[in-house]
Amino acid sequence: MLISCNILKKHIKNSETIDFVSLWDKFTIRTAEVEGVSLRGNNFDGVITAKILEVNDHPESKKLHILKVDTGKETLQIVCGAPNVRVGLIAPCALIGSHIDGIEITKRPLVGYDSYGMMCSGKELGISDDHSGLLELPEDTPIGKDIKEIFPIEDIIVEIDNKSLTHRPDLWGHYGIAREVAAITGHELLPLELNTDVPDKKKLKIKINNPELCYRYIGTKIDNIENNKTPIWMQIFLYYAGMRSINLLVDLTNYVMLELGQPMHAFDSRVVKNIEVGLAKDGDTYTTLDGQERHLSNQDLMIKNGGEYFAIAGVMGGLDSEIVEDTNSIVLESACFEPSTVRKTAISLGLRTEASARYEKSLDPNLALTAANRFIKLLRDENPNMEFGSAITDEYPTVQTENQIELNKDYLYRYMGFEVEDKLVVDILTSLGFKVKKLAKKFVITVPTYRSTKDITMPADIIEEISRMYGYENFKHVPLRMDMTFGNQEITYDTEYYVKDYLANRYNLHEINTYLWNKTTFLKKIGVEVDNVKLLGKSEDNILRKDLNLSMLEAASNNINNYEEFGLFEIGTTIINDECERHLSIMLVRNNDNLKLGYYQIKDYVYSMFKSLKNIEVEFALISDKETYYNNELTLGVLNEGKILGFITVFNRKVSNQISKKKVFISADINFDNFVELSNNLNTYREVSKYPRTTLDYTIITERGTFYKRLEDILNEFTSPIIIKRELRDIYLDGDTKKVTIRYTVGSDEKTLTREELDDFKNKFIEHIQNNNLNIIEQ
């Protein structure tokens, strides 16, 4: 929201003692975030008011005119291209030696005729965006005056972050900001000049069908409006505040909204019959002021006139009631609507307006009457002959009351962390418009209605008012007192860190973060379809991932041009069956020739991660139930005590070819929620045997295509109390056969094994292997 310091100054007594440039740092730390402060009106100098005495056609140009201009001191010849030149017009004139936007105005010839200055448009002076002609000043403007002296062109415009005003309906207008500034600087807020007439006229017909949605509706008919021209000062202000000047009646509604925060509407009274406020009928349509047809629902609150829709309450009016050129009588609406209804309607129609932004903040219904009287006062300033056409008709079913809050001193001190003097509390709250009764142990506080609608309802809210005005920079810094309660710890975060650290620092893998959704173009590229929970309102990149490996594949594909072989990992969320699951995904990218090596590496990584961090020796088993974009012949389940903890796999050729024909993409996926929960196996101390061990090597011959797993199963069937361990020593491919050398280490805790015991072991083992139809060679 843009705030004009010129307007603030009008509302603060002795405002000349306030430095309006440096003030805003303090405003930021007391009230709300100021996003920028800019000085206006300093882009030119030396521009005076001047009157056109003569208008002569330029002999050489159709567009240009040669003017004689009265500057109050002399008559100058000025060549001017504006279409609205006419004798008697008073307009700004930049004299020779003056500057506009850094350019000096000099005497110069325009198509053969010297021009001794330049007549200016509003845009050239930076006070409007109208460049269609000269800025037309009122007839009673004194001539020869510096234009900055007679109009409020020099101003300080402050931008306040709207988000930081979400909870402050009172700050959506200049008067509320002025109240804060006055409180911050210790000044006095001036009362508003308002209409005080109570016309003894007939009431308008106004009916509120839904008092729970329309808290107040004030309608006033005003006749005999002769002047619909906005004064220059107000035009400048509206422009600075980011609005366009249209005509006096429309501008006044906007001005009052910007000044007080109360949205208003002026209807052409020729079309107003009887006003009714109620919900729309489902499926009806209505065309708003901007010419758009809107589809309504029975949740939308409407203003009706003579039974027809007239305006969308709190959002926007319609075309038929618009103020037009010859409007000389209006019905002024100043109303208060239930905030969430306005908000819902504005969102569902996609129509967020200045009015709806204010209503949804919970405006004070009492403001509606103040604003109406402010409008009437300002209208009368420009139209002394205006007359009331009706009573100020006020339908106000539920009156907004002031909240009463009791604030215990003890609670206040506890909350702030130290004690504050009563006087300070009283002064701060009084400066903000609160009434305070001081008792021994508490304060009884009456909250003004403009803070009572939602903002301030409980003691903590009052504490904020006291604290911020006291100044957070003045607070003590107090350490938390010692708390020696034995606390809980959740291990998830630490476990994640240990795993990341392990993978990065032991296996030289790189941790990355990827998005929670799959990238649509990537899935298309690799020819994979994923169906899962979707983001609403998006058609691209909208499917949440259920396989982290796919995210890693995408990241890998983005790196293959820069790196030959590399490894990535991420611990991230996936959405599986509508539930969040954390997964660890490791991705090794290898040249095709290195598939075997990479595959064994990833297997090692997974195994040693479980072994090192959990002391769990996982097992691997071929599985085939994974997605078809994997090579399911190379898919291994990672198991512990029969439970699948994850899997190792390779993206199938069809998919990886879409990325590179020279690379293989080897993945491991571990359910990390399960990993965290696995308890650490504890190895207890074991006595080492004092007796010597013996190693026995055997080579077993299988068919070339037999997986080691098959042999391992056979070996596992053979048990003996003297086996200490078994290792795979070597695999040698020889023609159609595979020669697998294994080594047993045997021994006993109680004695040195005898020759007979060893022979017995050997014989039984060889027999076992032969019984499984395999050849065996004793080494």
Partner: protein, 336 residues
């Protein structure tokens, strides 16, 4: 005699050079220091010397003996430790193969370690969450204008992607009760268009302290101390009012710009301050919703921007790098 000794030392020094193995060492040691060595013979003659000579040669023999022992031992050590004939090229470049941690992981670890030292527990929560935890339990009812402050990703299963780690507050209160000192690093999501300083996916770290007599003064102390530890230097912090429905009062915490030390630079838009961390006293409604009596207990909470912090620490000027998975940017963050 003097001459003989000089000659002996010279010979021993020369022969010591041929010590390449333990065997050489033993041989030479026995030759020069053994019972039948020249030196041993000289020493055996000492008893026949005049008392003057005794005074002179006694210490000298011992000195030479000690020198030889040291000389031979040194030569042996030299021989064992370094081969003079190189079988490899020691000047080859190292195999610079290293992994990396994500910058946010490193910074998150630093901050959680600091908080852990202060007795905070570290919690984790789901990235896909319900409207209740993300909004309603945080005093943001439906149709509250504060919902506009965060552009939310809504899902077709009725859930949402959490917009803030505060979504964990209610769970933490319900699960652990009072006293509570917890932090929760995690990923959050806002439906925003990407540019160099805006991401739809970013990390925050929630902090939550609830107990008797927790005050605004405690909050200020804790935040300042934490940031001093994070940045490893004194930083000034300032609080200014900020509105979050789940706090009362709510603050924006600015810290003095670490780039220019508060003098004003492009990073801080010449203000000298960097907006780092929304925080505030936990709103009484939020406490009550978490099953905590707000008349007896109070607390504070903060939401530190971990992503922002990582960018500040590593001077990363484009936020999109962090989710890019592009190793050209990320592979260097291996320092803890």
């Amino acid at each position: 005699m003097q001459e003989k000794l000089k000659d002996l030392v010279a010979r021993a020094t020369e022969e010591a050079k041929s010590i390449h193995s333990e065997a050489d060492y033993l041989n030479i040691k026995s030759k020069f220091l053994g019972k039948k060595s020249e030196l041993a013979e000289y020493m055996s003659q000492i008893k026949f010397m005049s008392s003057e000579d005794k005074k002179l040669f006694g210490p000298l023999f011992n000195k030479i003996k000690n020198e030889f022992e040291k000389l031979f031992a040194d030569k042996l050590e030299e021989a064992e430790n370094g081969s003079e004939t190189l079988t490899f090229d020691p000047t080859l470049p190292v195999n610079d193969n290293h992994g990396s941690l994500h910058p946010v992981t490193i910074v998150g670890r630093e901050v959680t370690n600091i908080l852990k030292d202060m007795g905070f527990m570290i919690l984790s929560g789901p990235e896909m969450d319900s409207e209740y935890y993300n909004f309603e339990a945080l005093n943001v009812p439906k149709n509250h204008p504060a919902r506009d402050m965060q552009d939310t990703y809504w899902l077709d299963n009725g859930m949402l992607l959490r917009t803030q780690t505060s979504a964990l507050q209610n769970r933490a209160m319900r699960k652990y009760g009072i006293p509570l000192k917890a932090c929760a690093p995690g990923r959050c999501f806002r439906n925003e268009d990407l540019d160099a300083s805006h991401e739809n996916t970013f990390f925050q770290l929630e902090g939550l302290v609830i107990d008797k007599d927790i005050s605004i003064s405690n909050l200020i102390y804790t935040m300042e101390g934490m940031l001093r530890e994070v940045f490893k230097k004194d930083v000034n912090v300032r609080l200014r009012p900020g509105f979050f429905p789940f706090t009362e009062p709510g603050f924006e915490l600015d810290c003095s710009c670490t780039i220019c030390d508060g003098k004003g630079c492009p990073t801080c838009k010449n203000s000298g301050w960097i907006e780092l961390c929304p925080c505030g006293m936990v709103h009484p409604n939020v406490l009550e919703e978490g099953g905590i009596d707000s008349t007896k207990y109070s607390g504070f909470a903060f939401g530190l921007g971990l992503t922002r912090l990582a960018m500040m620490k590593y001077k990363i000027n484009d936020i999109r790098v962090l989710n890019s998975g592009d190793l050209r940017y990320l592979e260097d963050f291996n320092v803890r």
